[in-house]
């Protein structure tokens, strides 16, 4: 038993050593790429919300749910700079991954209901949501690779289930309102992801301060 355990440990250490030594892509480069992707993600979501806002009924703003109603608000994230800078890299990565993971289902919902959205620009909205999904997917994959390099604690992902219903509403206004609400939640979360990754990038590029 101990012999087997020692063997397993040896194997594990060897694998870890190889993993660490195998620097096919350095971490800072990975982080750089991830940051760029998250940047693009947030930009897309921002443009989406602006586009949707162009033909938004004023009454809708009244009945817009508060941002604390976002399904990801339960996740504890830093609220200012000092807090954010105190978070470890692994935790930051974990947070980013959790947030990203939490939006897979809602994006599906958004994309499915975008075409029938009572909005003049619903086609372009639909296309952008498609892009959102693509970027989100690729970013998730990259962060998975990153988490593999940054330690076991980064592997932890908080589950943030989306408890929203499968449809976004019945009438035109509620659909629009729900759509906009979801998009606003996503916009914030994408900003968080982006911020965390950029902090991570700066921390990993100690040799190259120009990255920051």
């Amino acid at each position: 038993m101990a012999h087997r355990g020692s063997q397993a440990t040896t194997l594990y250490l060897t694998a870890l050593y190889m993993l660490v030594s195998c620097t096919a892509v350095p971490v800072n480069d990975l982080l750089d790429r991830a940051s760029q992707r998250s940047d693009k993600l947030h930009s897309l979501s921002t443009s989406l919300t602006h586009e949707l806002d162009s033909h938004f009924p004023p009454i809708g703003r009244m009945i817009m749910p508060r941002p604390s109603m976002c399904h990801t608000s339960s996740l504890q994230t830093p609220t200012d700079k000092e807090q954010a800078l105190r978070v470890s890299e692994s935790d930051l990565l974990s947070l980013a991954r959790s947030l990203l993971q939490a939006w897979v289902d809602p994006l599906l919902l958004l994309s499915s209901s975008a075409n029938s959205l009572p909005h003049p620009a619903h086609n372009s909205i639909y296309r952008k949501i498609q892009e959102l999904q693509e970027y989100s997917k690729s970013l998730g994959d990259g962060l998975d690779i990153l988490s593999g390099k940054m330690g076991p604690s980064s592997q932890y992902i908080s589950l943030l289930p989306f408890r929203g219903s499968n449809d976004i509403g019945q009438d035109k206004t509620s659909r629009l309102v729900n759509f906009q609400f979801l998009l606003s939640c996503f916009r914030r979360d994408s900003h968080k992801i982006d911020s965390f990754l950029k902090v991570l990038r700066c921390r990993a590029a100690k040799m190259r301060p120009e990255m920051c």
């Binding site: 940047d39 609220t79 900003h191 950029k198 700066c202 120009e210």
Partner: protein, 648 residues
């Protein structure tokens, strides 16, 4: 201050209240939040715009609420950011939190709330301008360039990655209106190239967070570019100098080789190569003179008929080994002359074809085969003639040369020596086959009596001994016999006309030297039998009239004149009668030589008629030579070599 100011109208109003119906006071107008900005994502400031104050002192208050709680807070700092502003410091600032902000205006009469505004700090980031913008001129191999460097705004924490800034700068020349903008990304340094030498440049920089607003432009930095010599211009100058150098060299070479270049580019126009054509005359513009100069006396033949020329054959002389004398009569002298090797079966050729019935048939084949030899021997013979003419008067040398020259120059031209030539040029000396007989005879041969196709008389030319009327006599006679019946009317007198193209050509004095021209006409030459040598050769001597001679060569049979054929003896020998009356002959010659020109024409036209014409010496001048030196055949009394008579 406001209260003090406001108090005045208030007092006035109060003063008028007793008098006025109502006051103009009202609650304050609605304030309006204009903007909220965070320079570094750590603090933020909100500004509002006050509405009307309603005539009363109004106070403004800002209240905010965070999204998670319902607690309402008032603005902690109204002064830091100036009037109508609220400054949220770090402690009061939370990010990723919605702030619900409201401004309230309050005066004595009431208050007014502004519309609430939801603010998330991360979305309202607008940094300060970049700091420490420095521009320096740096040198490069291509020229100077500007290096602009700056620093991020002091408060923005880019080092930890909390805020990511991207920069932008703009440049323009002093005096211009358009700025040239450049995105610098996240770097804090930028190079500007392609500067104008000696220009003054203005540089400004600004920055923006990754998701936020652009900052203000930094204060302008002025930079002067020093004067420098642009490298491109120097290259052009080098190229220009090099091209000029090459151009000069080319010009120099062209100058040296101007002649060859001229020849290449402007080939000389060939001028007219007409003999006798004077370009100067042409240039002078007198066409009559020019064309008159071209007129060659003697050409075209105006005094002699052409028909006879055409009809007259040329003398084709072979030089066979047998030393036979073959006299040929061709139809067309030109043709005969020109086609040196015509078909032997061509009866029309000037050469006596072998098919012709006339004389010397057996010699034909040999003769043709020995044309080459013949020509050579003709040359030799002519040379020999030169010697032979020693005892004859008149110089034939030059004509001999003329005779010779065509041989050598034109191989094709049959070197028909002027056997029977009235010209002083003599080419052949027939030898008296009798040997002892040395009579000068004039043989005027013309084939006018004979129809061309049927007549062919061959005169074989013996190179060594000259013309020889040898054993071919019989054929000669035969030929005459044959032809005789064909021309019943024609007198049994025939003329042997010997034409030689070169003689004809040599008749042209002007072209005597070349002697290469093919004759356009034939000249009939009278041949005088000089003597008969031992080998039965009849030596013929051309005769010409002294009076019509140009060069004054007078070739009259010196001494004895054997121009009369007495008869033919049994030995097939031509007996020539000696002419006693030389003078008479001369006179005749004189008389007739020139006159006969005309008569010859007559006779030419009336070939088969006019015995009288025949009687008269029929000069072979029908060839149309311009030379009046045609020797006429003496009168029949003097005797031609008239085969008919001989036959008779």
């Amino acid at each position: 201050m406001r209260r003090a100011v406001g108090s005045v109208p208030l007092l006035l109003m109060l003063f008028f209240i007793g008098h006025a119906k109502e006051t103009r006071y009202s609650p304050p107008g609605k304030p309006k939040l204009t903007s909220c900005r965070s320079p570094e994502k750590e603090t933020f400031t909100c500004w509002w715009e006050p509405g009307s104050d309603g005539g009363l002192p109004t106070t403004y208050a800002l209240y905010y609420r965070k999204e998670n709680s319902d607690a309402v807070y008032e603005c902690p700092d109204y002064h830091t950011a100036g009037e109508n502003s609220c400054f949220f410091n770090k402690n009061d600032t939370s990010i990723w939190v919605n702030y619900n902000i409201t401004v309230v205006a309050t005066n004595a009469l009431g208050s007014n709330f502004s519309d609430p505004v939801d603010v998330d700090v991360v979305y309202i980031v607008q940094p300060h301008t970049p700091e420490n913008v420095t521009v320096t001129v740096m040198e490069d191999k291509d020229g100077p360039f500007l290096r602009v460097s700056w620093e991020p705004p002091r408060k923005a924490d880019t080092r930890s990655g909390w805020i990511t800034l991207i920069y932008e700068l703009r440049v323009k020349l002093e005096g211009e209106e358009e700025w040239e903008e450049h995105r610098a990304g996240q770097q804090k340094m930028f190079n500007i190239f392609s500067l104008r030498s000696g220009g003054m440049y203005l540089v400004q920089v600004r920055c923006k967070p990754d998701h936020g607003f652009w900052s203000e432009w930094s204060s302008t930095t002025y930079i002067k570019v020093p004067d420098y010599f642009p490298r491109e211009t120097s290259v052009w100058i080098l190229i220009a100098v090099f091209s000029a150098f090459i151009f000069f060299i080319l010009t120099w070479i062209l100058n040296l080789k101007s002649n060859s270049v001229k020849h290449c580019l402007l080939p000389p126009v060939p001028g007219p190569k007409i003999k006798g054509f004077d370009k100067q005359l042409l240039k002078n513009g007198r066409s009559e003179e020019v064309f008159s100069a071209l007129v060659v006396p003697g050409f075209p033949p105006t005094t002699s008929s052409d028909c006879e020329d055409l009809l007259v054959e040329y003398l084709e002389v072979y030089t066979p080994e047998e030393q036979e004398l073959i006299l040929e009569e061709g139809k067309d002298l030109q043709e005969g002359c020109l086609k040196s090797k015509g078909s032997p079966s061509d009866s029309d050729s000037g050469r006596g074809s072998c098919d012709s019935h006339t004389l010397l048939m057996e010699k034909c084949g040999e003769g043709e085969g020995k044309e080459e030899k013949h020509q050579e021997r003709a040359q030799k013979g002519k040379r020999q003639q030169k010697h032979q003419t020693g005892w004859e008067e008149g110089d034939v040398s030059h004509t001999r040369e003329d005779v010779l020259s065509p041989d050598m120059s034109e191989g094709r031209v049959k070197t028909w020596p002027s056997v029977f030539s009235p010209l002083p040029q003599y080419s052949s000396r027939p030898l008296d086959h009798q040997g002892s007989l040395e009579t000068a005879r004039q043989l005027c041969l013309s084939d006018s009596l004979f129809p061309p196709p049927s007549t062919s008389s061959h005169l074989s030319y013996n190179a060594k001994e000259g013309l020889a009327l040898g054993s071919g006599q019989q054929e000669f006679y035969l030929g005459k016999k044959q032809t005789h019946p064909s021309n019943p009317q024609s007198q049994p007198r025939w003329h042997l006309q010997a034409h030689s193209d070169f003689n004809i050509s040599s008749m042209d004095r002007k072209q005597a030297a070349s002697g290469l021209q093919l004759p356009g006409f034939r000249s009939t030459e009278y041949v005088e039998v000089q003597r008969v040598n031992q080998e039965d050769m009849v030596i013929l001597q051309p005769l010409f009239s002294s009076s019509c001679q140009r060069d004054g060569h007078l070739q009259i049979g010196q001494g004895e004149d054997y121009s009369k054929v007495k008869g033919v003896d049994s030995g097939n020998m031509l007996l020539l009668q000696r002419e006693v009356e030389v003078k008479r002959e001369e006179e005749d010659g004189d008389r007739y030589s020139c006159d006969i020109q005309d008569r010859v024409t007559e006779s030419c036209y009336t070939t088969s008629t006019a015995a009288s014409s025949q009687v008269t010496g029929k000069p072979t001048s029908c060839a149309g030579t311009a030379m009046p030196v045609q020797e006429e055949m003496v009168l029949a009394a003097n005797g031609y070599v008239d085969a008919a008579t001989m036959l008779l």
